[in-house]
Symmetry: C2
Subunit: 130 residues, 2 copies
DNA sequence: TTAGGTGCAAACAATTTGCCGTGTT
DNA sequence: AACACGGCAAATTGTTTGCACCTAA
């Protein structure tokens, strides 16, 4: 793997993910940093998030739009099907399952336990009629 | 909800998902049906898959590219990080977790338990150097 | 007959990439 | 100075949608 440098952009992007409670998407990180880094480009945000995910410095949560988490130990998430919000959830995550899954012929990396539903804000909204 | 008709396309699209072991994507369904339905369009495949998912006749598995499953009872999946293949996995799925998650203030729909790793084919491939 | 469905092409949205000048080491 | 990195804009990819014609009921 290539040598790593510490550009201001990379550092600030990492901090933006780490300091956010909302498991931000690339766009959210971009929006958060733009005020203080007006020349920042969205491509750079994507490049760095993806790179840090590959190095294992960030965790990428997949879905219709990718979210990022600076908390590395695997844990449970819940995603709002209406607004896309992602939050941590205090439901136990069982690493032992990975061993069990290993008997399948696959080389198992790990697993994601992701709930879905309506977040507190969205559940009170009008369900959109049709 | 609107009246449902049974167009040939919808029926064949459903059958294509049901008869496939591979949790096909829209593109895969399209490719599978094209030989026998040369005028089928990819838009129609997307429209029908999405509609049947909303009706609950299909289950949509999200990820970088959406996959569809005709087996409705929730169960465990595993996805290959290299080729994207999705398979069923004989790791127990615990519906009781949904009740537990309900204490969070969210209106919980359910959850997905998705492992990731390398499928038998990909694990023997050269890990791409860099 | 009449709503819902289809094909097609254009529109979109998320993400990736090539190029070339800049900044870190 | 060397090579990784950033900005920018164009390119890709997955998915959705508007419209005019078609078809199941």
């Amino acid at each position: 793997m290539k040598e790593q440098r510490f550009s201001q952009q990379r550092v600030r992007i990492y901090q933006a993910v780490q300091s956010s409670m909302e498991h931000p998407s690339a766009q959210m990180v971009y929006d958060a940093l733009r005020p203080e880094m007006p020349r920042l480009s969205l491509g750079t945000v994507y490049r760095n998030l993806h790179q840090m995910a590959q190095e294992g410095r960030l965790r990428e949560l997949e879905g219709p739009v990718a979210r990022f988490d600076a908390v590395l130990p695997p844990h449970t998430h819940i995603r709002c099907v209406r607004c896309g919000q992602v939050a941590d959830l205090a439901v136990p995550y069982d690493p032992a399952l990975d061993r069990e899954a290993g008997e399948s012929g696959w080389a198992v990396n790990g697993h994601d336990l992701v709930f879905s539903g309506l977040c507190p804000a969205c559940r009170t909204e009008q369900p959109l009629e049709n």
